[in-house]
Amino acid sequence: QANGSRVHVLYSTPSCYLWELHQANLSWSLKMDDFFPYSDGPHQFWTGFFTSRPALKRYERLSNNFLQICSQLEALAGPAARDGPYGPGDSS
């Protein structure tokens, strides 16, 4: 470092970093599979959460089903769908 460093530090963002990588015009290795399972050390795999809290997981899947039904009915009904027993809705 006494002879002068070869390092330049700057404030940046991931997309500006990505822009510089793009400018480098390299060929990158190809990946075709996924990044499962995740393990951050020997004998510790983060695969328990695939099934933990089964009731909540089912509740979310079912809710997404209901959401899709609501969206479709709202699209079919038009503005009338906003009027409900408790007043007008604010969906957009």
């Binding site: 390092v7 330049h8 404030y11 963002t13 500006c16 990505l18 510089e20 290795s29």
Partner: protein, 302 residues
């Protein structure tokens, strides 16, 4: 000050040197040890010290104070909550910061969604919800070009395919298997092109993917948040002056990290869980780090 948003607003770099991109960020879980509301307002700090409303206030003020500073933000659930509580003057300031690329939105979903147990259609819903808010509130510069999945525990090809098909230019990851990562470091394959679909045509389904050096944390010794206890940069006339050791440690870390990546650019994530509640601590020390490290270039060089 940057000329426009997107890649046009990027800071100048030095093609002849190793460029270290400091990326200030905060990782704000949309509910974890506390509820979303508790995290937003900073309630029950005895459980975990975290208050997102203060983080956003503080970061905006620090970005305004110094135009070269940058910050990225990911979780729209918190940003939208904060936005509702701001006056028009603050909103204008934030819109300007976004337009000038000083505040950049990454990811852009309502949250940083899990990739193992989520259904792809729900993943689309939450991305649409977040990106829709950003576009309406903050304008055309706001919706991200970059996916930011730094904390999910493993990554699915389907999730990457969604990002590719939505027009994202890249994806950055924090957590990959430790053996996979060690091998990729050796082979300099931490950055790669992910062919995200077996049925869609390339290159439409290809996504540049980068694995970050230290999950999403700063390098050891360089954590300057109020939640950390690393020494600050002391550059005054003081018995505590530590500039020489901080600079040499930093140069050492940067050089070692560069051995695992292929270009003369590397990235350092300067932040962690619910950091930047007092953003001045981070930015003041990074300002000094940048000044002192770059000053070393002047002492002769090849």
């Amino acid at each position: 000050v940057a000329a426009g948003c997107g890649y046009k607003s990027c800071p100048p770099t030095r093609p002849d040197l190793l460029n270290v991109h400091l990326v200030p960020h905060t990782h704000d879980d949309v509910g974890w040890l506390k509820t979303v509301e508790q995290y937003f307002y900073g309630v029950r700090n005895e459980v975990q010290h975290a208050g997102v409303q203060y983080i956003l206030d503080s970061v905006v003020a620090q970005l305004v104070a110094e135009p070269t500073r940058r910050f990225i933000y990911a979780e729209v659930a918190f940003l939208a909550r904060w936005w509702q509580l701001q006056d028009e003057a603050t909103r204008d300031t934030v819109r300007q910061l976004v337009e000038q690329g000083r505040l950049e939105l990454v990811g852009g979903g309502w949250s940083m969604a899990d990739e193992a147990v989520t259904h792809y259609s729900a993943g689309l819903e939450q991305l649409g919800l977040g990106r829709g808010f950003l576009r309406r509130a903050l304008g055309p510069c706001a919706p991200p070009r970059l996916a930011w999945q730094i904390d999910p525990f493993g990554h699915s090809r389907q999730s990457a395919a969604t990002f590719a098909q939505m027009g994202y230019d890249g994806l950055f990851l924090g957590r990959v298997d430790h053996q996979d990562k060690a091998q990729r470091e050796q082979r300099r394959e931490l950055e790669l092109l992910w062919r995200t679909s077996g049925s869609l045509r390339s290159p439409g389904s290809d996504l540049f993917t980068g694995i970050l050096p230290n999950v999403y944390n700063p390098p050891t010794g360089f954590c300057w948040d109020q939640l950390c206890s690393d020494p600050p940069v002391v550059d005054g006339d003081s018995e505590e002056n530590n500039v020489a050791s901080i600079v040499s440690t930093f140069l050492d870390i940067a050089t070692k990290q560069a051995e695992h990546y292929r270009t003369n650019h590397i990235i350092m994530t300067m932040g962690s869980d619910f950091h930047y509640e007092n953003a001045n601590l981070w930015f003041k020390n990074m300002d000094k780090l940048i000044a002192h490290v770059n000053a070393q270039q002047a002492n002769g060089s090849r």
